[in-house]
């Protein structure tokens, strides 16, 4: 069991209904994420996992309840950053320019912005590919760039929306391991939305499960396995089965 850390993000009785609809997609969500904590949010299709993430990112307003996110950030950083499932790289920007997209407006000098871009490109192992266009890289590389773009703004919390679901199994495995390495190195909080139970159990310190109509949080437990983890760890598999049962 992970020791509870000081809450960085808190959802207090949060619910959401789509505009024009009187039906709540989810309701009564109460959970928090501590600084540096890695939490996976799991649920079936249509339970509103990605909508939770959008609420946390401030992209949509929750109709009900309250979300407390880090309001103050250090110079040159953003409170949160999103990694999208569809990578969402801007095709008219080079890889470098995509990575630096969130840096303008943070008051950083050109030299500091360049240094930040170099740093994260190095971190994801794509230092040589900064001059390429998005259509010139593979799906796995595009996901890395999406991650680098988010890391470049040094967020307190990284919001990841099924980021590896569109890549092949081998690439997904590699990306998961790379993400763990980066997370352990940068010590930021992660909210990782996925429908893949094994992925959630392998990556996260804590797994939360949403289920029902409207969906509620039905499971919220720490993963009983230390890092580094083995994918075929029996304890991990047993935990994954419990998550599956909760779904």
């Amino acid at each position: 069991m992970t020791a509870r850390r000081k809450a960085l993000l808190t959802l207090d009785d949060v619910g959401y209904r789509y505009p024009g609809s009187d039906r709540l997609v989810f309701e009564g969500l109460d959970f928090s994420i501590g600084a540096g904590e890695f939490v996976a949010l799991v649920g079936g299709s249509g339970v509103g996992k990605s909508t939770v993430l959008r609420c946390v990112a401030g992209l949509i307003e929750p109709g009900v309840g309250r979300i407390d996110t880090p309001s103050r950030t250090d110079h040159g950083t953003r409170p949160s950053a999103v990694v999208f499932q569809d990578t969402r790289l801007l095709p008219w920007r080079s890889i470098r320019a995509n990575v630096g997209y969130g840096l303008s407006g943070l008051g950083l000098s050109r030299a500091k912005r360049d240094a930040r871009i170099d740093e994260v490109l190095e971190l994801i192992g794509m230092a040589e590919l900064g001059g390429r266009w998005p259509h010139e890289i593979s799906g796995g590389q595009a996901q890395r760039v999406g991650l680098a773009r988010a890391l470049a703004v040094r967020p307190h919390i990284l919001l990841m929306d099924e980021p590896f679901s569109a890549v092949d199994a081998l690439t997904r495995t590699r990306l998961q391991d790379e993400l763990l390495t980066i997370w352990q190195r940068l010590n930021m909080a992660v909210l990782f939305v996925t429908h893949d139970i094994a992925e959630a159990a392998y990556l996260a310190e804590r797994v939360c499960v949403m289920r029902g109509t409207p969906a509620r949080l039905v499971f919220d437990e720490a993963v009983p396995a230390p890092y580094p983890r083995e994918r075929d760890d029996q304890g991990l598999n047993a935990f994954a089965q419990r998550v599956a049962a909760a779904l």
Partner: protein, 270 residues
Amino acid sequence: MVQRPASAHPNALPAPRRAGATRLRRVLLGLLGVAAFIALWKLAYVFNWAPRGTIPDPFVVPAALWREYSGGRLIPAIGSSLVHYVWGLGIGTLLGFGIGLLAASLRVFDDAHYMLARILRPIPPLAWVVFAIAWFQVSHAGAAFVISIGVFWVNYFATASGVRDVDPRYYELARAFGHGGFFKRITSITLPGAAPSILSGVRTGVGQAWMTLIAAELLGVPGMGQEMNSAAGVGAYDAVVVYMLAISLIYTLSDGLFALVENRALRWRP
């Protein structure tokens, strides 16, 4: 299994040689097409397929070119036409782009102007010639005004549809990374996202402007259109062809130049 190398195929040539041969074949066939057209033209001249004297001998066109040039008519006419062209194209492009951008970005503006746009759009640019003469007399400004109308609509529709077609997910990305404000959204997402359509509109306008320009000048504004009209009036149809070829050359140059700009600006496309 033994694989036969690609070059062993009887018809196979190394890729660059094959591409070179295809290009050469295309150029030769293109020249052949031009030669066939000139031959047909010559036949039409010899056998009087049109009222006598209205089809010039294609082989006197070079002499007519020299006559127009040395007579001091060709270059000033081109210069004058270019003045109309640049002003008409510039004003029409800027206004079409600006109003198209507003129409696609601001709902209230779109609602307020869509009916007016539907009323004005079907009116051909040349229908405005009457007002151009009334407001600007027979002047450069009048010709530029008529040209700018045609160019305006092309750019208006290209910009508006390009902006409307920008993937809305990019706007969500902009908000997620602190670029949700109007100005940042327009500069970082809307304009680059709509650039292919906007530039395609500008390029169409580059051609459209020439078509309207000659028609506007036929009414008496100094330029190539007026020279064509004057030459036809004295039966010098060879000179008319000279101005037609001058238009073709200038259009090809301006379109080619713009294609370079477009390719450079859109080099990110696959």
